[in-house]
């Protein structure tokens, strides 16, 4: 969906949001250890991504949605939104990682694994948040609903991600991290399949 790219100011807004959050955390905590770094990093990414995702359906007005509806197939719409959001979240995670590295020392020991982790994380977050945002956009109190609906669903993904990144940070020596990666891919796959199957039902309005 190239249309989203037009709203560049929104992206800049989110990126600025990440940087300022990291800075606030930096000012309020001072020096931190790698385990805390891990937790803070994922909390910042989680909240930044929920802020970024809210706009994917909720902040669009009905007329434009009707226009998209006539223009494209619903599956194409959800897929393009998910793909766009994956890119956005990946960028966002890299940026927050960079910002955290700037203010703290980088505790990352295995760069490749960490990169894979944040990529899989952006895929999982993007699928869940995009789909939940589609549900929540139909209601009146949508931003509250968005948080209520998406947080419990995203917790298993978040837990697995934290384990993987703890591995990448060298906090734990787990040789079975491949199993975690497969779990994550499986969860992402299930959620993606469901989102594609169920989205056409949400769209009709």
């Amino acid at each position: 969906m190239l249309l989203e790219w037009r709203q560049k100011n929104v992206i800049y807004g989110i990126l600025l949001y990440v940087v300022s959050t990291v800075f606030i955390v930096y000012i309020s905590t001072g020096d931190i250890r790698p385990p805390v770094w891990n937790i803070l990093f994922w909390i910042i990414v989680l909240f930044a991504s929920i802020n970024a995702m809210v706009k994917s359906f909720i902040q669009e007005n009905n007329q434009r949605q009707l226009y998209y509806y006539q223009l494209a197939h619903p599956v194409a719409i959800i897929l393009s939104k998910i793909l766009y959001n994956i890119g956005l979240l990946f960028l966002l995670s890299i940026l927050s990682c960079l910002a955290m590295t700037l203010v703290y020392e980088s505790p990352i020991k295995r760069m490749g694994l960490f990169g894979l982790t944040i990529f899989l994380g952006s895929v999982g977050f993007s699928i869940t948040f995009t789909f939940v945002s589609a549900i929540a956009s139909k209601a009146d109190n949508s931003s509250t609903l968005m948080a209520i609906l998406s947080f419990p669903i995203v917790i298993p993904i978040l837990g697995t991600l934290m384990m993987l990144s703890a591995n990448a940070l060298g906090l734990i020596q787990d040789t079975a991290f491949l199993k975690d990666i497969y779990t994550l891919i499986a969860i992402d796959g299930i959620l993606l399949g469901l989102a594609i199957i169920l989205f056409p039902f949400l769209w009709r309005d």
Binding site: F131, I135, K138, P156, K179, I187, I190, L191, L194, A195
Partner: protein, 349 residues
């Protein structure tokens, strides 16, 4: 009456499971022994605590210390009450093992209670290690002619004790809850397929019963945890995942509450119900198996099976699952009829 047969079966099975599960006595067992350590070569006098035992009524009471094939019978036995027995052992200077501290299993047998075993009952320390010499002194395979306790009993397990009965209610609640939620997903799919309002009402009723069963499952599990782990709630992964899973389903009700339009509500609730059910499968069945957990059946811990779940327990456990599911479906049916009637009333007004 004809179409109500399944409700009667449900109640009957549940009643049977309650009565049978609660009234059947536990097999006699040995909860504790004091002192739990000693020195080789000394005379060991153990106070053995029994549970459901009849130490003072029997004449042929026998007690052994067992290590592999080597067994040492008690030289003197004195029953102070039906549940307390003093046993004296004359241990040789050397033990049939290469370790300096050796862990023995305690076995008790008599004609009324049958044989009971207490694994890792007593630690015995030896000053000189001579396992080959000890192998000639120690008697082998002297445990024979063990008795069977007459009548139906449930197995006795240390730590679990009487709470072993909770298996029939705690575990079957979760089974029933999962089945009921699965049926509700079936109705949600049918709603999206046929757009019939009735299916949505059914799915809603099932989810509410499922959540009630989930809460009851947490409560029974909590009681069990208090007894066995010593706390109502721990940060165990299975428990946390259960809490998250309850949050997901409570969000379902929030979602339903935030729509005025009936059709919109039905459609979104159905979509969310399917999505939520799919996301609880990794929550309850995949993740707890990957990480360490105290809960049976996870993280390398065995579930109930083998010796812990014998056929007498199955006689109470399986009816409880079926009965619980049928009663849950009945509860959902009542709720469903209530919401249909409320709809009719609204239409008339």
């Amino acid at each position: 009456m004809k179409e109500n047969w399944w409700k009667i079966i449900g109640i009957g099975l549940m009643l049977f499971s309650l009565i049978f599960g609660m009234l059947t006595p536990l097999k006699p067992g040995l909860p504790s022994v004091f002192p739990f350590n000693g020195k080789a070569g000394n005379q060991l006098t153990l106070s053995i605590q029994g549970y459901n035992t009849h130490f003072d009524e029997v004449k042929d009471q026998r007690v052994w210390l067992k290590l592999g094939d080597y067994t040492l019978g008690a030289s003197k036995l004195e029953a102070t009450s039906s549940n307390l027995l003093k046993a004296t052992f004359n241990t040789p200077d050397i033990l049939p093992s290469k370790d300096s501290v050796v862990v023995f299993t305690l076995i008790s047998d008599n004609e009324i209670d049958g044989a009971s075993v207490m694994p890792s009952a007593i630690f015995v320390k030896q000053a000189n290690i001579d396992s080959l010499g000890a192998a000639q002194i120690w008697p082998q395979n002297s445990v024979d002619n063990l008795h069977q306790r007459a009548g139906i009993t449930f197995p006795y397990r240390n730590v679990l004790g009487e709470t072993i009965r909770n298996l029939y209610y705690h575990v079957s609640l979760w089974f029933a809850m999962f089945l009921i939620l699965a049926v509700s997903v079936f109705y949600s799919i049918r709603y999206l397929h046929k757009e019939n309002m009735v299916d949505d009402h059914r799915a809603d009723a099932m989810v509410s019963v499922g959540v009630v069963f989930g809460l009851l499952g947490c409560a029974t599990g909590s009681i069990w945890a208090k007894h066995t782990w010593g706390t109502w709630w721990t940060t165990d992964v299975k428990l946390n995942m259960t809490a998250i899973f309850m949050l997901i389903y409570l969000a379902y009700f929030v979602l339903r509450g935030s729509f005025q339009d009936e059709i919109k509500r039905a459609r979104l609730a159905s979509v969310y119900n399917i999505f939520a059910f799919a996301s609880i499968i990794p929550l309850l069945f995949v993740i707890p198996r990957l990480v360490d957990s105290l809960h049976p059946g996870n993280g390398g811990n065995p579930g109930f099976g083998g010796e812990d779940l014998d056929n007498t327990m199955r006689m109470a456990f399986y009816p409880a699952i079926i009965g619980m599911t049928l009663i849950g479906l009945w509860m959902a049916d009542l709720r469903f009829r209530l919401s249909v009637l409320a709809d009719k009333l609204l239409d008339r007004m």
